[in-house]
């Protein structure tokens, strides 16, 4: 699988990372190097083998349904770049 410049730009967009035009070529090569290395794994037959989710052999513990947090809007809003009327205020997003 070879990555082209378009794919680099697409992945950068999806990740919200800014990749300068002059760096696209170098990033593409880096990507391909990594992918080629990973592709060595294709030599192993993994048919009918489930992906490993976690190396910890543990199952999920559950929490009781009680309200023990919240009511801390000042702390929650403290890190917001902008807050108005107790809302987070962000540049207009209408899809």
């Amino acid at each position: 699988m070879a990555i082209d410049n378009m794919t680099v730009k697409q992945i950068a967009f999806l990740s919200r990372l800014k990749v300068e035009d002059e760096k696209v070529e170098a990033t593409k090569e880096e990507f391909n190097k990594i992918l080629n290395w990973i592709e060595e794994l294709n030599e192993v037959n993994t048919d009918e083998i489930e992906p490993l989710i976690s190396v910890n052999d543990t199952v999920l513990k559950m929490r009781e349904d009680t309200v023990t947090s919240g009511n801390c809007k000042d702390e929650v809003l403290k890190n917001a770049p902008a807050a108005e009327y107790d809302y987070f205020a962000v540049p207009k997003v209408v899809e």
Partner: protein, 486 residues
């Protein structure tokens, strides 16, 4: 089965619809945090650091959300998966602080199921459930408070959702509407979701495609997001299917796309095409190990399951003699069904059903009351029907008694007693009234004798009117004819 075919002068088209429904889970706290799920509080009050996506905060799964999901799965007659996994669905949007939604992807908690829906022509149809998974809701964006900014309230962020995906089994708007009503009825019976589409606690995405009638090809579909009432879902299907047909018949093509339904026009407009579709890059949620449920756990929830609308309906038909239609109407709402059972206990169930579905519901509608606020209690409605059955009062007087009950909440027996409304069955008294009516209307008597026999009904009406509605109509009917034919 009722067929819904779009017929034009160029051909016949069949409509294929699948639904995805998000149901907010009823629980005190959120699915992965211990903040409150309360609706309508001040902005950002019910937000924990987990919901706000603060670095280092870890999700912990709410037991109750899992229980509610299993219950709902059982209510959908679906397979409960003992093994399920959480995944991250990655996308950027201002109302989702973590930039990913914790959801289930490859292994949902609930697998295939099936529910049957009742259609207007009296038939039922089975609709397949593809799967149901649990996930977290996003926050709310408010776009109209500031011209250049959007405001974000995270109170809803992290509230548990059940996403139910149906198979593409619907062939008409009616079937989709009937399914939504049935689903809403099931989750309300179970108390797992309040089912209020207008408040957004139940939201529906609609997938529509069409194909030439008789073929079994699958053509590209369009998806309409967040259609928020049963009526709008039906309208969206109807209009979208027509739009597809028009495009095909004009030689055009449909591409897979996401559209926005506009309730004010009933039409939809393009949101995004497939080439701009999100690439969600799902991967297993590293903060949550797989969810494993035991047989004992699932059995314990099975043991708690209450009677659901279909079973209740069947019982009303089999043991109480209701028609399938009446039973379905009464069973759609659990409170209505319970009220009916209470009212019908020991009385004529069919008559009680008729009263509930006509005068009783009309009264609630008029007074804008919920059944729990009804001035007429179930016991009193039962008593009223009993008074009619025992011919203590006539059906006509019963309507007047019901009016008084609706105003005062009084016992019908007491009303009948105090107002002297008991039916007159004493033939002597009735005969006297008949004689009076005959004596004062000689013209009509002559006309009757000359062949206008349908005037008998007029005489009956006059007699009942003279008795102030208290004369027993059956007796009046009999005596009037006897006397006129003499």
């Amino acid at each position: 089965m009722s067929e819904y075919i779009i017929t034009t002068n160029k051909g016949k088209w069949e409509v294929i619809v699948g639904l995805e429904i998000h149901c907010q889970i009823i629980s005190k706290s959120k699915i992965f945090s211990s903040a409150s799920t309360e609706f309508g509080d001040d902005p950002n009050v019910n937000v924990s650091f987990v919901d706000a996506g603060m670095p280092g905060m870890l999700p912990t799964l709410n037991k109750e959300c899992v229980r509610q999901a299993v219950k709902t799965g059982l209510g959908l007659n679906a397979k409960i998966n003992k093994y399920s996994e959480f995944s991250r669905k990655n996308y950027f949007y201002a109302d989702m602080p973590t930039d990913y939604q914790i959801t289930q992807f490859r292994y949902p908690i609930v697998g295939e199921g099936e529910i049957s829906v009742d259609l207007s022509d009296g038939t039922t149809k089975k609709i397949g459930i593809e799967r149901m998974h649990i996930e977290q809701d996003a926050g709310k964006s408010i776009h109209d408070l500031n011209p250049t900014k959007s405001y974000i309230d995270l109170n809803r962020a992290g509230v548990g959702l059940m996403e139910i995906v149906t198979k593409p089994d619907f062939r008409s708007p009616e079937e989709a509407g009937a399914f939504l009503r049935k689903l809403r009825s099931i989750v309300r019976y179970l108390g797992t979701c309040d089912g209020n589409m207008d408040e957004g606690s139940m939201r529906c995405d609609v997938n529509v495609s069409v194909r030439p009638f008789g073929s079994n090809e699958l053509r590209p579909r369009s998806e309409m997001k967040n259609v928020n009432s049963v009526k709008f879902v039906m309208q969206a299907i109807e209009n979208e299917a027509k739009r597809h047909v028009e495009i095909y018949e004009n030689g055009g093509k449909i591409e897979q796309e996401t559209r926005q339904f506009d309730p004010t026009t009933g039409q939809s407009k393009l949101m995004r095409k497939k080439e701009f579709a999100h690439d969600y890059r799902y991967f297993p949620e590293p903060d949550l190990p797989p969810l494993v449920l035991s047989d004992e756990y699932i059995d314990s929830i099975k043991a708690e399951m209450i009677e659901l609308p279909d079973a209740k309906k069947q019982r009303f038909i089999n043991t109480m003699g209701l028609t399938p239609y009446d039973a379905a109407v009464l069973c759609e709402n659990k409170e209505h069904a319970e009220f009916f059972e209470k009212a019908a206990a020991g009385h004529d169930a069919k008559k009680v059903a008729n009263w509930m579905m006509s005068d009783f519901f009309a009264m609630l509608n008029k007074k804008r009351l919920d059944i729990s606020q009804s001035p007429v209690s179930a016991e009193n409605l039962g008593k009223l029907v009993e008074l009619i059955s025992k011919e203590v009062i006539s059906g006509k007087i019963a309507k007047d008694v019901f009016e008084i009950m609706a105003q005062t909440g009084e016992d019908p027996e007491k009303i009948v007693e105090e107002k002297g409304l008991k039916q007159v069955t004493d033939t002597g008294a009735i005969e006297k009234i008949i004689d009076d009516v005959i004596a004062s209307n000689p013209d009509n008597v002559t006309a009757y004798k000359n062949g206008k026999t349908n005037l008998a009904g007029w005489f009956v009406g006059q007699v009942i009117k003279m008795s102030q509605g208290k004369a027993n109509p059956a007796i009046v009917n009999k005596l009037v004819r006897e006397k006129l034919d003499k």
